[in-house]
Amino acid sequence: MAAAAVALAFCAGCGAGRGGSGGSPAERLARGWERYRLGEFILALKDFEAVAQGAESGCSNQLAALYAQATTWSLRRPDEDKVRAERLYREVIALAPTNDLAVWSWLALARMKAAPVGGEIPPLPPQVEAYQEVIDRFPSHPAGEEAFFHQQAARLEQPDEARTREVLAALETFLGTHPQSPWRSTAYGLVGHCCAVLGLKDRRLDAAFEAFRSAEIDPASPPSARDMSTFYWQVATLAEFEAGDFAMAREYYRKFIAEYPREQRVFVAKQELKRMDELEAQIRRQEQP
């Protein structure tokens, strides 16, 4: 019985991605996305176009198909067509301005402004403006929150003290006004970066700690995707070398060693535990009359 279930699941997996041009709109959409995943963009577009053409105006299948086409035209390589992608995203927005896909289309339009040309950093003002439009229109939608972080990341792409201070203030405001946001760990990560640029050592440690504390943990994820070793490492080394808080450093080095005993940095962690003991012993010796 169990073997049969396994076989069925396998067959379902095998079926996806194979040829064929028929099926319900939902099936064609699913097949189109499978083809998109495999990089078969021409075939994917055929599926998406067929669904869009056969659907009633404004219905969910049409919106999904238009959004899928826009995404494919924007992100396919080679032969991307940014103009067509933008037109399709705007069509989704025009057909159903409050639909989820319309909101994601707004963010996609902003992301298109962030696309580097020839690998160079794109101009900052149009990016900031485009993200701000998404934030203002949909402040409590996931796409609006995401836009806020893209906006801050764009402003941090080149080091600039004044701009970094503005970003830090914006992030502190976000953290104050979004106590339940799933993006808090991301926000603290960016705060840490700002503090690194500005030389705010204690606040950097606090940010690293809060980023660790607020990190989302998906129980369904495999352990590789739940790797907390980087958080432990950051907190431990910042506590040791930037805050001089050896108690905290020891705690996180020990967590690191206990939970990731086969990690490459375990040797360094053990060395650091020893070095802290040695430094304290040396200071004590110097203090003795």
Partner: protein, 570 residues
């Protein structure tokens, strides 16, 4: 009538010849395949791999026979393909829909191509590796999810870009020094090789001072272009580990080629850094023990010298252990030892060396199940069988490799290969910045290896080029990083659509993944670049405190904390 037939034959002789050959080929292939199929077989599985080393094919055959005892209806045949043509073979088999049910993946193909293959041709295994392995029943691993039964938690089977476990690894690998025990005893009087580096080099000198029957000096270490990198990687390059303390600006515990360049450019580190100099001094001392012209020799030529008993030491991995022992059988005894390291009181390297070399415990010999398999559930079951504690132990015992599963015992031959899980690692990626500096370094390094240049000359040639050309290469590396963003955008667009299509706990999980990927791949993408840019803009610094060094301010803070603690009576 006869003349018509004869005329027909003459006119179509070429076509007839091709047809006859084709039919004969079909008959031969079918007969060959049928001949290997035991009676009673209703399910035949094929397993493809590139492992032509001694023992591997025998091990798979024997494990297939063991499996057949439990499942008489299943027979398993191997397609063992040489490594040199494996990528082409695998590609044509996958594209033609004729690939084996289980296939080893990971060699001869660029990683980005392999990623496409994973999505297109292989069955995701995440669901199955989270279940316990039924073949672990009755062992301490009974009921434990399969991935957790691995020494490396099956990390090597997980493909981050696809967010799925895609392969089942079956063995671990390690690299050690092999030596001819008889020749060592004859030339040096020693029964064992000293583990201390200084004594090891002295032993090599003693070996070199002896002549064979034909008046040729013995070679202490037989090497080649293939082997030289191993000696460097396991002995001299790890001496550079101290660079982590100076230039790991992003605090991830390793030195990136961009970080190293910024360190050089801002005067925080240079070729006069003692661990860097030490690496090349040790490398020179080692290459002095190699045979002349080793860089132009291939892997087999080095092994040949060892098998001929004209050299005492050779380095290689578990994959060659069985073959080497087999070649020496009845002629001389092969010993296996760890790489020598300098002692703490070594006058030259004692102050530099900080520990043994860290060895990644990741598992290899990874097998995926192809989507075209007619019996994927049976293929999975066979992989569970040889990926169980007992099955994996037996498979690796026959081959002479290290099992990948926790608690599986290791054969005495490869006991010495157990990885060191604590130790240092190389931290001088001077050749990873960009194409031109990498080529320049490669040229200088090659000259150094064959003693046509000294360390000082090599540095004098390379450093000015590195510091000038490196600036443009760093900028190009950053541009390449930005160019690659579209790949991540594409991946995230897919992840978003999947999350939007789900409801309930699945949706929660998918959105978490989406946010994690968005943060890592897009939002944080250029932060390190910005930090490094800031360091570059600050220019050359003197007496800078490294990321893992105590500044006077920190020492003062520690002093104050200690004083406060003492005051509180703790």
């Amino acid at each position: 009538m006869i003349s018509t037939a004869w005329s027909f034959l003459r006119r179509n002789s070429a076509l007839l010849f091709v047809s006859v050959v084709f039919l004969w080929s079909v008959f031969a292939i079918v007969s060959y395949r049928k001949a290997g199929v035991p009676t009673g077989t209703t399910i035949q599985l094929r397993i493809g791999h590139w492992q032509l080393e001694a023992g591997v094919r025998e091990a798979f055959d024997r494990m297939a026979a063991e499996y057949r005892k439990l499942h008489p209806e299943v027979s398993i045949v191997q397609d063992a393909i040489p490594e040199s043509s494996y990528g082409t073979w695998m590609t044509t088999q996958l594209m033609g829909g004729t690939a084996p049910d289980m296939i080893e993946v990971g060699v001869s193909l660029p990683y980005n191509v392999l990623l496409g293959y994973y999505s297109r041709y292989f069955v995701p295994l995440t669901t199955y590796v989270r279940e316990s392995n039924p073949y672990n029943r009755g062992t301490p691993l009974e009921g434990v999810p399969w991935f957790k039964t691995y020494r490396d938690s099956m990390r090597s089977g997980y493909v981050g870009e696809i967010q799925q476990y895609m392969t089942v690894p079956l063995a671990q690998f390690g690299t050690r020094v092999f030596y001819n025990k008889n020749l060592l005893r004859k030339l040096t009087g020693l029964a064992e090789v000293p583990h201390d580096y200084r004594k090891f080099i002295q032993t090599c000198e003693t070996i070199r001072s002896h002549l064979d029957e034909q008046g040729r000096p013995y070679t202490p270490i037989t090497s080649s272009g293939y082997h030289a990198g191993m000696w460097d990687g396991f002995m001299s390059a790890p001496l550079t580990y101290g660079a982590v303390r100076r230039v790991d600006f992003n605090r991830d515990g390793v030195v990136g080629s961009d970080e190293l360049f910024v360190g050089f450019k801002t005067g925080r580190i240079g070729f006069d850094f003692p661990p860097f100099e030490a690496r090349f001094r040790m490398l020179r001392q080692l290459t002095d023990q190699f045979q002349a012209g080793f860089t132009g020799l291939g892997r087999d030529e080095a092994v040949f010298l060892f098998a001929q008993q004209r050299a005492v030491f050779i380095t290689t991995g578990t994959w060659d252990a069985g073959s080497l022992v087999e070649q020496a059988r009845g002629v001389f005894e092969v010993g296996i030892m760890d790489f020598p390291i300098p002692s703490r009181d070594d006058p030259e390297f004692g102050a530099i060396v900080q520990g043994p070399v860290y060895e990644n415990p990741g598992a290899g010999l990874p097998f995926a199940i192809t989507r075209t398999s007619k019996h994927p559930e049976v293929a999975l079951d066979f992989l569970r069988f040889i990926g169980s504690q007992k099955g994996n132990e037996e498979l690796n015992r026959i081959i002479g490799w290290i099992p990948a599963i926790e608690g599986a015992s290791i054969s005495p031959v490869v006991k010495a290969f157990e990885p060191h899980l604590e130790g240092v690692f190389p931290a001088m990626p001077v050749d990873g910045l960009g194409g031109e500096t990498s080529i320049k370094w490669g040229q200088q390094f090659a000259l150094f290896q064959v003693k046509q240049t000294s360390y000082e000359q090599m540095v004098a040639e390379f450093q000015p080029f590195y510091l000038t050309r490196g600036t443009e290469e760093l900028a190009e590396a950053q541009r390449n990083r930005r160019r690659a963003v579209v790949g991540d955008e594409r991946l995230l667009a897919d992840a978003r659509v999947r999350a939007l299509a789900e409801v309930g706990t699945n949706a929660v999980s998918l959105w978490m993944k989406y946010r994690g990927m968005t943060t890592g791949r897009l939002i944080n993408r250029n932060l390190v670049t910005a930090l490094l840019q800031q360091r570059l803009e600050e220019g050359v610094v003197t007496n800078a405190v490294g990321p893992y060094e105590f500044s006077p301010d920190i020492v003062a803070r520690v002093r104050a904390r200690l004083a406060a603690r003492d005051k509180e009576g703790r």
